[in-house]
């Protein structure tokens, strides 16, 4: 039990931080997402750009500092996405259409569910069905 808590607590705390920032930065806001897709404010673009720059710089710093092992002693490696093109474009397009409609990508779905939003639970239920549908149709769609 103590070992499990020690192992998973950092992930729980990181998740809390992520959910907290999504709400406070209004990245989980349908209103902000519509504003972004109509290029009417810098807010969401600023969040995305500064998040990417921070990720990029800090991953480089980890490399420069020669930090080779994670807290639990594994070798740190930058995970590579499989090569491909069609799956990324078509998948992204499908996801983007859903995101633009309801203003929630998967992170915010969980954050809003935590706020007790019944609507977010409906999105989550749909997303699980959509995920299952992809699993069933995987070999029939272009990759």
């Amino acid at each position: 039990m103590v070992a499990a808590i020690k192992r998973y607590l950092p992930y729980l705390l990181a998740g809390v931080m992520f959910g907290f920032v999504l709400v406070k930065g209004e990245a989980a806001s349908w209103y902000r997402i519509q504003e972004m897709f109509h290029f009417q404010s810098f807010h969401m673009f600023g969040i995305m750009a500064s998040a990417i720059v921070t990720g990029l710089v800090s991953v480089q710093i980890i490399g420069l500092l020669g930090r080779k092992h994670s807290l639990d002693g594994q070798a740190i490696e930058i995970p590579l996405k499989p090569s491909g093109k069609a799956n990324y474009i078509y998948g992204g397009l499908t996801f983007g259409i859903g995101w633009g409609l309801i203003g929630l990508c998967p992170g915010p779905v969980f954050a809003l569910a935590g706020m007790g939003s019944i609507g977010a639970l409906a999105v989550l239920a749909g997303a699980l069905h959509g995920t299952w549908l992809y699993g069933a149709l995987k070999d029939k769609v272009p990759h």
Binding site: Y8, Y11, A14, G15, M17, F18, G19, F20, V21, V23, K24, G25, A27, A28, W30, Y31, R32, E35, F37, H38, Q40, G46, I47, A49, T54, G55, L56, V59, I62, S70, D72, A75, P82, K85, N87, Y88, I89, Y90, G91, L93, T94, F95, G96, G98, W99, G100, I102, P106, V109, F110, G114, I118, A122, V123, A125, G126, H129, G130, T131, G135
Partner: protein, 188 residues
Amino acid sequence: MDYMLDALRGPWPWYVAGPLIGLMVPLMLFIGNRSFGISNNLRHLCAITQPKQVEVDFFKYNWKEHTWSLVFVIGTALGGFLAGIVLADPLPVQVSPQTLAMFQSWGFAAPASQMVPPEIFSPTVRNLTLLFASGVLVGFGTRYAGGCTSGHAITGLSTLQLGSLYAVLGIFAGGLISSWLLVPWLLR
């Protein structure tokens, strides 16, 4: 103390929220050599709940190896609860004047909260159907693309991966289609 609580209640400007989100990438690597991303959890939840008589291969794997990821999204929900309920910001979202005018032209009331409009999220049959259907697109699309905003736009772009760039272009194009055509048309 009051000053600190007010600052915590927010809303937070982009230059605070963005870098904190970006820090999730090195943080997850540091904690356990994990790739920061959310939508994989949808797959794990399918793997957990898949009934024996269906058994799609895509969901046949040892999901217990991904418990850390499920713990992370439980934390995300908890973070949402803390930020949106316990330390809720009483003021509605401050979108730009053009955005307010656009909402008005779509027949939406001015935002009364930070997050979602009651016109789409109040639990009526029509709304729940729309939310579920959009959720299907989100679930199908993220697994098809192998990631969502966190896995591709944040982790993928900040580690300079070409596939993630394709995914982000697709995501943004899809969002434009929805936001310019479907939202005004469906919700009119």
